[in-house]
């Protein structure tokens, strides 16, 4: 290797390293600011009480609970639907124009702006199916939004299960469905769950899809049924920041911190779940 090649390599490595470091800077800065300005607001009352005085005081409990309901609803709808679709696409569907169309649709679905999902949910669930602005309509809208993420992650997880495992099972006269249930799915589970939780955590932070389908501006009580509106953290944050005058910035940052914290907990959960299943798996 001559001198200039060495230098080129050194420069290349520095640029690559720098690019990686730049990635973590915004995360650290955002977290630092949120903790610095938001942490003083956070106490037991803030997390568990209803908002008071036009949201200028009190807690944000209904928004936390609302976001939890939406997350739960999204998991219930999107997880089975996404995993089943992925199993079909990976294990059963033949490669033809139909499956290619489905795959193109999934990729495009992932690229649709979230506000469009909101309008779609408004048109289909809220108005056409007459669910009204409700947890049901909101969860369904969020589900459609995260489906591409879940399907793509599940497909990758399923494809990464070695073909040889399938052959070993099929060669024993075990049926295809039993092979999928007993060999393929258990081994794909960590990947599926990781993808799902990451998708869901994104849904938890979205504002646009819930704007027209579920979110209540100010509702200082808990929803009573699936057909109730509810508050949600992202929308509540938007309202606090732009719609209500004279809000203590402490409350705004506190709300943001809770939202980010929630998303981080979900992501952390994904890591724990994956590590746990990997630990049980013996290869």
């Amino acid at each position: 290797m001559n001198l200039s090649a060495k230098w080129k390599q050194r420069i290349a490595f520095s640029v690559l390293g720098l690019a990686s470091i730049v990635v973590i800077v915004p995360v650290v800065v955002i977290f630092f600011i949120l903790i610095e300005k938001g942490l003083p607001a956070i106490n037991w009352q803030f997390l568990t009480a209803m908002p008071r005085m036009g949201m200028r005081a009190g807690g944000i409990f209904p928004a936390i609970a609302g976001t939890m309901y939406l997350v739960l609803g999204t998991i219930v709808v999107a997880l089975p639907l996404g995993v089943l679709a992925a199993v079909y696409l990976v294990e059963y569907a033949r490669q033809n124009w139909m499956t290619r169309m489905i795959e193109v649709a999934i990729v495009n679905l992932a690229g649709v702006p979230s506000v469009v999902y909101g309008l779609f949910g408004l048109g289909l669930f809220v108005i056409f199916l007459k669910f009204g602005s409700s947890i049901l309509a909101g969860s369904l809208t969020l589900s459609i939004m995260v489906l591409p993420v879940i399907i793509t992650a599940s497909k990758e997880a399923l494809s990464s299960v070695p073909q040889s495992f399938r052959e070993a099972s099929l060669a024993l006269g075990v049926s295809k469905w039993q092979t999928i249930r007993c060999i393929v799915l258990p081994n794909a589970l960590p990947g599926i769950l990781t993808g799902t939780i990451l998708g869901i955590s994104r849904a938890a932070g979205e504002t646009a899809p819930i704007l027209f389908t579920v979110a209540a501006f100010y509702l200082p009580r808990l929803p009573k049924s699936l057909f109730d509106q509810c508050m949600a953290l992202p929308y509540h944050l938007y309202v606090l920041s732009t719609q209500v005058p004279n809000v203590d910035p402490k409350i705004q940052y506190g709300t943001a911190l809770v939202l980010v914290g929630l998303v981080f907990i979900l992501n952390f959960l994904a890591i724990v779940v994956r590590a746990h299943i990997r630990g049980k798996k013996q290869w």
């Binding site: 033949r94 490669q95 040889s164 495992f165 399938r166 052959e167 070993a168 099972s169 099929l170 060669a171 024993l172 006269g173 075990v174 049926s175 039993q178 007993c182 060999i183 081994n187 798996k281 013996q282 290869w283």
Partner: protein, 254 residues
């Protein structure tokens, strides 16, 4: 006493195509009950295609087309049977050991469990019997619940044979089962095959001509998708009828 000339599997004009490529041409071959049939031939001779046709693993490849007929005990396995039934009676041991990612016990019990066996005692009995038959029991009896992935290559391959035996097949296909094994492990696998002769019909595809001579009762020689000849192992290796067979076993080509 079993009549050795009784045929277990009979193929008639068996051809296998992958897309437009013909991998196997009009093979007419009878596999006798409880014999070990060695199948030899150079790369691309169609021997693995032949093997995979015998338990319908070719079905998994959408490009693959099988024509002609294969009969097991007189029954056409492509027209009169489900693929699952065929594979339960005709199981396969692969070139690379393929333990499933679970414990040794669960690996062996996998087949019986899927076929509906739920009784723990009976499963334990099947597992022990299968492991003994594959000469693996003494080496693993104290760690049945540890991962099968931690076994050595030779042990894994015998585990795969044991797993195959656990579904109580009639025919066992081996696709170059010793290609990744050292000589001692190979000897153990061959020893297991000899023991299994009492109860099973076995077909061994191998790149190792000497192995076919050691283990096979009869040997079939394939070349470019055609069955050149099949005969008693002794005859093939001492006085083959076809010049091409002679060339191959003496290492003049292939």
């Amino acid at each position: 006493m079993v009549n050795l000339s009784e045929n277990k599997i009979v193929t008639e004009n068996l051809s296998v195509h992958y897309g437009t490529v013909r991998a196997l041409k009009d093979v007419n071959l009878a596999v006798r009950t409880k014999e070990i049939l060695g199948v030899i031939g150079p790369a691309n001779s169609g021997k693995t295609s032949f093997l995979k046709a015998l338990n319908r693993l070719n079905d998994l490849n959408p490009d693959c087309r099988v024509s002609g007929s294969i009969r097991i005990d007189g029954k056409d396995m492509n027209r009169e049977m489900d693929a699952e039934d065929v594979r339960k009676r005709v199981t396969m041991v692969f070139a690379l050991p393929l333990p499933l990612p679970m414990s040794i016990f669960d690996n062996i019990a996998y087949g019986p469990r899927r076929h509906g066996m739920k009784k723990r005692k009976e499963l334990a009995r099947i597992v022990e019997k299968s492991l003994r038959a594959a000469f693996l029991w003494d080496e693993v009896k104290d760690r049945l619940s540890s991962s099968a992935m931690k076994l050595s290559g030779g042990q894994q391959q015998r585990l795969c044979i044991a797993r195959t035996l656990a579904v109580d097949p009639e025919v066992i296909l081996y696709d170059e089962p010793c290609s990744g094994l050292d000589p001692i492990s190979t000897a153990k696998v061959e020893e297991a095959m000899f023991e299994l002769k009492a109860r099973y019909t076995q077909i061994l595809v191998t790149n190792n001509v000497k192995q076919a001579a050691r283990v096979g009762d009869r040997v079939a020689f394939f070349l470019t998708g055609e069955l050149v000849e099949v005969d008693e192992a002794k005859k093939i290796f001492t006085a083959p009828r076809d010049q091409r067979t002679n060339d191959y076993i003496t290492g003049r080509f292939g």
